[in-house]
């Protein structure tokens, strides 16, 4: 297996609150022989605040990056973050309309001329590497670990735009985690919203939505939740105590990025997986002395 090479757009949270997603994504890609080249001097895609203010502004912020991908002589870019992904895809899609492109480009120093397809790292693993190859590359199966795969609301929706997996019952992460040896439980709230970016301005709203996800995960017997979105992960992990307070209960549910668990299964160096960055310690689930130490998965489960 060789020759997989991509432009990579890390997204701002990868520099901060989701640094473990960025580092584990890079580790997984390395293990699967996917070469990533960062988009030079990439900038913020504008995330939800930009599209909530104006669509041309939002498109311009994304298009600056798409134009930089073009300048790398590429027509494909990968990002781990669903919010970045939506913005990059939406900008490319809407700018196929000439009048709209003119408006967005009028905000930019250099125009974006179209022709870049953004995909998630998850999609590239499924489509370009393939499940067979992933399964064959697993060296430390996550035996017996019971997980719920949670996709969040925008990874696959709306389907006309995202064009990957099923919009109501996505399976990509379920299949990957199974390939990694975990037991994936049927999670009915796979695409329900976690409270998105309202954690700061309306923590009451986010606590309520996240609590529902955590309660349901516990109900179906999941020991851990697996995510693909920095915002979902932050709401469920960092804010888990707020959700617990809302629900009048206590939670102790580790919330992984799928790349962290896949990385473990693929034998990626543990230092690159950032397991010690999770707020809710995964040690119990991984049956190890403490997260961040070596031999996290060496103990066999009974």
């Amino acid at each position: 297996m060789s020759g997989l090479s991509y432009a990579y757009y890390p997204g701002c949270s990868g520099l901060g609150t989701s640094s473990e997603y960025d580092s584990s994504t890079r580790a997984v890609c390395k293990a699967l022989f996917m070469e990533l080249s960062d988009v030079p001097d990439w900038s913020c895609c504008g995330s939800s605040p930009a599209h909530a203010v104006d669509h041309a502004l939002s498109a311009a912020l994304s298009a600056r990056n798409l134009a930089r991908v073009r300048a790398m002589d590429r027509d494909d870019v990968l990002t781990p973050c669903p919010s970045c992904l939506t913005n990059l895809r939406t900008a490319d899609h809407r700018m196929r309309d000439e009048a709209f492109a003119a408006r967005a480009n009028s905000l930019l120093d250099a125009p974006y001329k179209g022709g870049v397809r953004a995909r998630s790292v998850l999609q590239a693993i499924v489509e370009d590497v393939g499940m067979e190859m992933v399964r064959a590359s697993v060296v430390r199966p996550l035996k017996g670990m019971k997980v719920a795969a949670y996709y969040g609301c925008i990874m696959n929706r709306p389907p006309e735009l995202m064009a990957f997996d099923d919009p109501e019952h996505p399976m990509a992460m379920d299949l990957l985690m199974e390939a990694a040896g975990a037991t994936v439980l049927p999670f009915p709230l796979k695409v329900e919203c976690c409270g998105a970016s309202f954690g700061v301005p309306r923590p009451d709203v986010t606590a309520r939505l996240s609590a529902r996800l955590l309660l349901t995960a516990r109900e179906i017997g999941a020991e851990a939740i697996v995510t693909a979105c920095p915002l979902c992960q932050m709401n469920l992990d960092l804010r888990q105590n707020q959700a617990a307070r809302f629900a009048g209960t206590a939670f102790e549910i580790p919330v992984f990025y799928f790349t962290q668990l896949l990385g473990l299964a693929l034998g990626a160096p543990e230092g690159s997986l950032g397991l010690d960055k999770l707020c809710v310690s995964p040690a119990r689930v991984l049956e190890a002395p403490a997260a961040g130490e070596t031999n996290l998965t060496q103990g066999s489960r009974s």
Partner: protein, 187 residues
């Protein structure tokens, strides 16, 4: 909820603008309620999303632009995905908050301040500087950080950088926002 006299306040220009800016035909909505049924934020909305669609059809500019719901919509795309008439409802919600902002409505002020602080961070640094964004939000809302209980959870993780990541294209980024402000001022 107030009872509205729908015939008295029909604003045809408002309907036309929503349609033009969203590229959607709002007349296609037949009030099936699918969008509201699937909207995770209905519990927090003052007007459910399907009713907003009805009020747009009825040209109720003021009622729509002054509601809280348009600030609480997370663009989760559930409504857009499930609308039987293929209306991009989430895009309409976006367009409504664009209009509300331009016309000076901000019924969920903290949400607006948070978004503004976010974009301000992008304008200054080119990438979002999370710690700076939070500091600005706290400063502007005049509220002590309501998330203070999170500090002991996140600080030991060494994830919140205390310095912004400067990019080379900082000036270029600032210009995007400057041109946008100029265009907004002219329109």
């Amino acid at each position: 909820m107030d009872v509205l006299d729908l015939s008295a306040s029909y604003d045809a220009d408002f309907v036309a603008r929503v349609q033009a800016e969203s590229g959607q035909n709002t007349a296609l909505c037949y009030q099936c309620g699918n969008c509201t049924a699937g909207c995770p934020y209905t519990f927090a909305y003052d007007i459910p999303v399907s009713r907003i669609m009805r009020l747009v059809q009825a040209g109720q500019r003021r009622a729509v632009l002054s509601c809280r719901s348009i600030w609480l919509c997370a663009t989760c795309e559930s409504c857009t995905t499930r609308c039987p008439n293929d209306i991009d409802v989430a895009r309409i919600m976006d367009v409504l908050r664009h209009m509300a902002r331009r016309e000076g409505f901000a019924t969920e002020r903290n949400v607006k301040v948070f978004w503004d602080s976010f974009l301000d961070s992008v304008r200054r640094h080119g990438r979002v500087f999370e710690a700076g964004l939070l500091a600005r939000y706290v400063f502007l809302t005049g509220r002590f950080w309501t998330d203070a209980d999170l500090a002991p959870r996140i600080l030991p993780k060494n994830k919140l950088g205390l310095k912004p990541h400067a990019i080379k294209g900082q000036a270029e980024m600032a210009k995007i926002f400057q041109r946008f402000a100029e265009q907004e001022g002219r329109s």
